[in-house]
């Protein structure tokens, strides 16, 4: 069974059809790329999966369960995590606290436990901090744990977003332009990290404009144009697909 399966998904904004009858599957353990020119509806697809928008038509199945009309935090708790195209960290909180946000749905302590710091609450808190620190080491940010998030470099802020997403213990990780604004060196590290996450058993779906990155890490690519899927397949096939070349002609000739 596919881990994630989109079926004839459609979303209209007023008169504009942002996503038009899009279907594709993401197999467990895969790294799938979602590409397309600006305004093709890639981020809208992500927002539909994570419940920020409700689709007008179609179905989204995650491990066989429908995600349609579930609230975002419920979807996250089911095992889908995401990062944002424009960095959305909790700027004034520390790096560690940002990661603890991801741990939130794994924890239980409510108002009363929090007011009284019950033994159970303290144990849970310690466990969360240990878990958060190990995730920070995993992405290489453990030394910055007690720094304020806004003081991190741009590339590190991107990594922190990934760390926060990993803290929710996702089965599927959705990355929205993870290499945006990164230099070549940082992108190289990102590729390693993406592969490392997949080796940990996390399925990855990513939007990216850096075509060399997409072609390097993705095993399967879905191409959108004007909200419709125009191609799907492994990188070699996508590179030669005439419709894809047409859609990209003159804009991205470096691949």
């Amino acid at each position: 069974m596919s881990l994630l399966s989109l079926k004839r998904l459609t979303k209209n904004f007023g008169g504009l059809t942002a996503v038009n009858n899009v279907s594709f599957d993401v197999e467990p353990g895969a790294i799938v790329g979602l590409i397309g020119p600006n305004g093709a509806g890639k981020t809208t697809v992500f927002n539909l999966i994570t419940g920020i928008y409700a689709p007008d038509q179609g179905e989204i199945l995650f491990a066989g369960k429908s995600l349609v009309r579930l609230r975002t935090h419920r979807i996250i708790a089911m095992g889908i995590a995401r990062t944002f195209q424009t960095i959305r960290l909790f700027q004034n909180l520390t790096v560690l606290e940002n990661v603890l946000a991801g741990c939130h749905c794994q924890m239980k302590g409510g108002v009363v436990a929090s007011l009284l710091h019950t033994p159970l609450q303290r144990r849970e808190e310690r466990k969360a901090i240990v878990g958060a620190m190990s995730i920070l080491s995993f992405v290489g940010l453990h030394r910055e744990a007690q720094q304020v998030a806004k003081n991190l470099s741009y590339g590190n802020q991107r990594l922190l977003e990934i760390a926060r997403a990993l803290a929710t213990r996702p089965k599927l990780l959705i990355l929205d332009e993870p290499a945006g604004g990164m230099n070549e060196q940082e992108t190289g590290r990102l590729v390693t990290l993406i592969r490392k996450m997949r080796d940990q058993g996390i399925t990855i779906l990513l939007i990216e404009h850096d075509m060399s990155l997409v072609m390097k890490v993705c095993e399967q690519i879905v191409v959108l144009e004007y909200g419709s899927k125009i191609a799907e397949g492994p990188p070699e096939a996508i590179k030669q697909d005439p419709r894809v070349i047409e859609a990209y002609l003159g804009t991205d000739s470096d691949w």
Binding site: T50, I52, R71, T72, H73, I76, A77, A81, R82, F84, R88, L89, F90, Q91, N92, L93, T94, L96, E97, L100, A101, G102, H104, C105, M107, G109, G110, V111, A113, S114, L115, L116, H117, Q121, E124, E125, R126, A128, I129, V130, G131, M133, S134, I135, L136, S137, F138, H142, R143, A145, Q146, V148, R164, A165, L166, A167, T168, R169, M197, Q200
Partner: protein
């Protein structure tokens, strides 16, 4: 040890503060009592405004609900006022659930306007003697003093210890609350609601929870106020009260417990100190507020970063587990 030094400093400050009623006259003790009640109110509003970042300019409504619950149940049914503390918190909390649930999705300024409306509706409902129990514009009088094991809290000196003990307990509990999953969740809301929801935080739930916990405490503050005054009327719960509480939070330093205490001292205490300037004091007060907002937007004692004691092995490479 810096930690030990902090504890000693705080203990000393508490001892000095607790001995104040022996040196001050009744008038100033009463001023300190007012400051105490406003501290409790500011601490409760701080959860909503400071931590969760939800603008609430109607906090006096919860305060009023608590005070009237105490007054009605005490004068009408003779229930001891101290025993009503949980009931006052409860009614204010239930009221918060009822009014906050439909408006909780509103953002920033919209929420702010609606809370002003709620505050005014409550005040006017009290004046109009809803359900025939609020005593209209005259209010309710003859509220009993709190008494515990036969000891009756009467003089301002007695109230000083009662109010500030309650404030002290509030400070301790809210300090723990801040440094917990709950406190962090409120901060995530304030920082970025979309990212909070996208990290698995039930934002609607925590917005409501912030309102309810804040309202419960304001309701209990209302009980204390009612027993201190023995007479309450809608006049005590005007929009101006909400504005004062809001100003304490912003001026003191959003999200900071010491900030709330200092803010209460400045906003409630300073106008008393400068009484001889008569009308000019409000002018000075206003000018000081404007200056603050220009030169120190984060408040006088802004919230500090939380520090966590990290596990020893945090430097090693390890998996996500």
């Amino acid at each position: 040890m810096t930690n030990q030094r902090t504890i000693i400093t705080i203990s000393l400050a508490n001892v000095v503060f607790a001995s104040l009623p022996f040196f001050l006259n009744t008038y100033w003790v009463d001023v300190l009592n007012s400051i105490g009640i406003y501290s409790i109110l500011a601490l409760s509003l701080n959860l909503i405004v400071g931590h969760a970042g939800l603008f609430n300019l109607g906090h006096a409504a919860f305060y009023a609900i608590g005070a009237y619950t105490a007054a009605i149940l005490n004068t009408g049914y003779g229930i001891p006022i101290l025993a009503l503390l949980p009931a006052c918190g409860f009614t204010a909390g239930v009221f918060a659930v009822l009014i906050a649930r439909p408006i909780i999705h509103l953002r920033g300024d919209y929420l702010c306007i609606v809370t002003i409306g709620v505050g005014e509706i409550v005040r006017i409902a009290l004046i109009n003697d809803v359900f025939g129990v609020t005593g209209g514009a005259n209010g309710i009088f003859g509220i009993a003093r709190p008494s515990l094991f036969g000891f009756s809290v009467r003089s301002p000196q007695h109230f000083f210890y009662y109010i500030w003990t309650f404030a002290g307990i509030t400070v301790c509990l809210f300090h723990l609350l801040e440094n917990s999953r709950f406190g962090r969740a409120l901060n995530y809301l304030r920082e970025d609601e979309v990212a909070a929801e996208g990290s698995g935080v039930d934002t609607a739930h925590y917005k409501l929870a912030a309102f309810v916990v804040g309202a419960v405490w304001a309701g209990m503050a209302g009980n204390i106020y009612a027993s201190k005054m023995t007479i309450i009327s809608p006049e005590s719960f005007t929009f101006w009260e909400s504005v004062l509480m809001f100003a304490i939070v912003i001026l003191g330093g959003s999200g900071s417990i010491p900030g709330m205490l200092l803010g209460a001292f400045l906003i409630v205490g300073l106008p008393e100190l400068f009484r001889e300037f008569a009308n000019a004091r409000m002018l000075v007060f206003g000018a000081a507020m404007i200056a603050m907002m220009i030169f120190r937007t984060q408040g006088i004692l802004p919230a500090k970063q939380r520090r966590y004691s990290l596990p020893e092995s945090s430097g090693e490479e390890s998996g996500t587990g």
